[in-house]
Symmetry: C3
Subunit: 348 residues, 3 copies
Amino acid sequence: MQFTAAQIAMIINGKVEGDPNAAVGSFGKIEEAKAGQLAFLANPKYEDFLYSTEASIIIISASQELKEPVKGTLIRVEDAYTAFATLLTKYQEVMTQQMVGTQDPVYVASSAKLGENIFLGAFCYIGEGVVLGNNVKIFPNAYIGNKVTIGDNSIVHPGVKIYHDCVIGKNVTIHAGTVLGSDGFGFAPQPDGSFKKVPQIGNVIVEDFVEIGANATIDRATIGSTVIRSGAKLDNLIQIAHNVEVGNNTVIAAQAGVSGSTKLGNNVMIGGQAGIVGHITIADGARINAQSGVSKSIKTNNAAVTGSPAFDYTSALRSQAVSRNLPELEKRIKELEKLVQQLLAEKV
Amino acid sequence: MQFTAAQIAMIINGKVEGDPNAAVGSFGKIEEAKAGQLAFLANPKYEDFLYSTEASIIIISASQELKEPVKGTLIRVEDAYTAFATLLTKYQEVMTQQMVGTQDPVYVASSAKLGENIFLGAFCYIGEGVVLGNNVKIFPNAYIGNKVTIGDNSIVHPGVKIYHDCVIGKNVTIHAGTVLGSDGFGFAPQPDGSFKKVPQIGNVIVEDFVEIGANATIDRATIGSTVIRSGAKLDNLIQIAHNVEVGNNTVIAAQAGVSGSTKLGNNVMIGGQAGIVGHITIADGARINAQSGVSKSIKTNNAAVTGSPAFDYTSALRSQAVSRNLPELEKRIKELEKLVQQLLAEKV
Amino acid sequence: MQFTAAQIAMIINGKVEGDPNAAVGSFGKIEEAKAGQLAFLANPKYEDFLYSTEASIIIISASQELKEPVKGTLIRVEDAYTAFATLLTKYQEVMTQQMVGTQDPVYVASSAKLGENIFLGAFCYIGEGVVLGNNVKIFPNAYIGNKVTIGDNSIVHPGVKIYHDCVIGKNVTIHAGTVLGSDGFGFAPQPDGSFKKVPQIGNVIVEDFVEIGANATIDRATIGSTVIRSGAKLDNLIQIAHNVEVGNNTVIAAQAGVSGSTKLGNNVMIGGQAGIVGHITIADGARINAQSGVSKSIKTNNAAVTGSPAFDYTSALRSQAVSRNLPELEKRIKELEKLVQQLLAEKV
């Protein structure tokens, strides 16, 4: 399937500079692309490749000045990265819409309600009372527990496990191996040192346009719901404990964890491997650096923290800088002690 | 299904205060519960909700004093949290016992031995020589490798993978996606820089009343067994390496990891994202704070540590406090140096 | 199946000391082994067990001196650990080669090409255009997406999920639950605070002799390939982000994570729970300590780092040592301030 520069420019609202009939059939990195491929330039670091690339069409920013001539046809847009994303999204949407039908065998409970244009991969399990919206795609080996509902256009990748009674919104993507709705980690200590399980009877609610990475875990609430609000993006291997609330458009990088009942605001950004204790609140727009350990609520919007335990980002960086020179600092103290002792001795 | 306050009080050994015929059909949080629901008050922080809740029945502690009248019927018990857990446990036990039979299709090897009253979900795999006790529930898409044994009343959630020869006790719960018995990470370095795999021929033994969260990994021993002792509770995404031993009633929070051949005592508590090096011993009752990195054995029972590398909890907190003021400390040293130089100069 | 000391010595190129007809049928740890079992001594710490073990055959180093007589038959080799590994590897190779055929049911797309002597476990999924080499073993409940190729002798354990277009080399082992080829975490921020997905159209390439642990995640590249080079060993629950390159024979311990576009050299060693930021380069032979947070490129071969943020290992250890005594350091500064104030006061 080939697309011309003119066709692509129409999709991404761009302006062709060069041959509008130049055609491409696949995508490539600007530094590796060959004739017949489409590339883009977003990061100025890669500008040199613009003049050497073999790509037949290159998407660039409207403001990009050319220092040398470019072989391929250019399509100028306001934001090259976003335009490229738009283009690929359209491409993948078409690919996904073509996945329709039911492979054999699957297990579909008789009380399940299935929307139109759905795909059920082999060995997927659809429990009692499940409701799947239109255009839902369930990949092979996925497990959808009893009474789960999944909204229109959502994609459940292979081997995802969704426990009973969870609610998944529209346009949600869940990557392979992720578990939603497993029991929260709640145990009541007993006098003999053993623990008695506190049954977890809540659920998980995932709102619209959320994307969750691979092998992540989101526990069901003890009572009520663990909630992932609209537009949130969660990376691989993250842990969301029971009764947590993740705000709209909040982004959590891989291997980070949020403990029970903590409430993350909107547009929070959490770096990889960061940890957040339970029962606290994180203000909107807060930025939590990778590997931070947040032990107290963050009350100021857009605050940035780092370290374990985490505190104000700028102060923490200063402390870390001094921290590296601690042996030298200790030497200076020793030297001072010697000098002061001399002064004291001489005084007598 | 409705239960009266009198019926519930009998199950949890409580004392009714108010209408013994008040009835409930579901559970709610004290701050959200509606008429017809059961709630409980364990955390004093939530006491205010006791006076405003719409719940028809509320479980509270025998010692709880009332500052205002309460609308619903009270059931007083020694420990409200434990009583609530007991009640939900009974409820879930009934629900689980109702899961019986074999969905279609499953794979059951001819030499497998199945107990009574078991459940086999669709697409589950039961290998050669597997022995399943009575009341075992294997959810869909789970894999039980050759010669695995699973004791009475144990529950294996969807997509769990148990490699050959592992031994699972009674009343064990394993959440979705968890892997037991994968190869330990053992490679012998070769002169050319490559690594030669050390085959891992041991197994994993999980004793009775253990609960393991979702997407956790517990490696089989090189030789012998990786052992999770009775009553231990392991959260999501934790890593237990080959030949580790986890003691009775030890609790490990999400994303923590224990390296090879380390032995954790009984009643140890490990916070989220903590890491413990290999070949060490952790004394009974030790408490390891979240994100700690334990690099040496802990020899004192009930010792508490924090930090990476971890040391004594109280000392570490003090050091962390000073650590935050390091730039100020450096200023004070500079000031001292200036003053001492003045004194020295004036002396001459 | 019994083997004599003479037979075993032939396989591992060793020298028998004692009865060449001594026979064993299974393996045991030197401290636990019984008559009829084979044990080995590699770690000098365990030498005492050499004189008390009941093992019928013990593999030891050629240079091991005996302080007391040993009951069993010895086989002397250059490196006992490597010899033992060789022996077990042969044993497991035989066991694995015996797994042949297709269990029922499986899903195999009509366009898939299957090599000779392969095993397909029940409920495994083989997509369109998949190519499986000879002796490939696909365990139950595994998912092999469209156009994936897997080289000769590779083993895919239960519940592994490999997304479309990924390329797996020869003699690769992938443990249960691991996900290869999930979408990289790429989202373009929009003016309204939401994020637009950047489609991830690259793939993952895993070269020959790589081993990957359980429940790990390796994301596909945005464009191009995420690459795991020949001989690399990756432990459980590790995260490899999009466009990362992991060098030959590089070893990554459990729960470590590497962010997008970072390039790890050859023979790098990364400790458990370490994190590495995106878009940096790590020199060959670098050693990154457990729980380190590497925020800058490491340019010197064989450099060792620790800490978060990570810096030179030796300096970091010194700083950590002083760091533990910070409260005492602060006291010394206070004392100095008092003395200097006295000196200044007396001067007047």
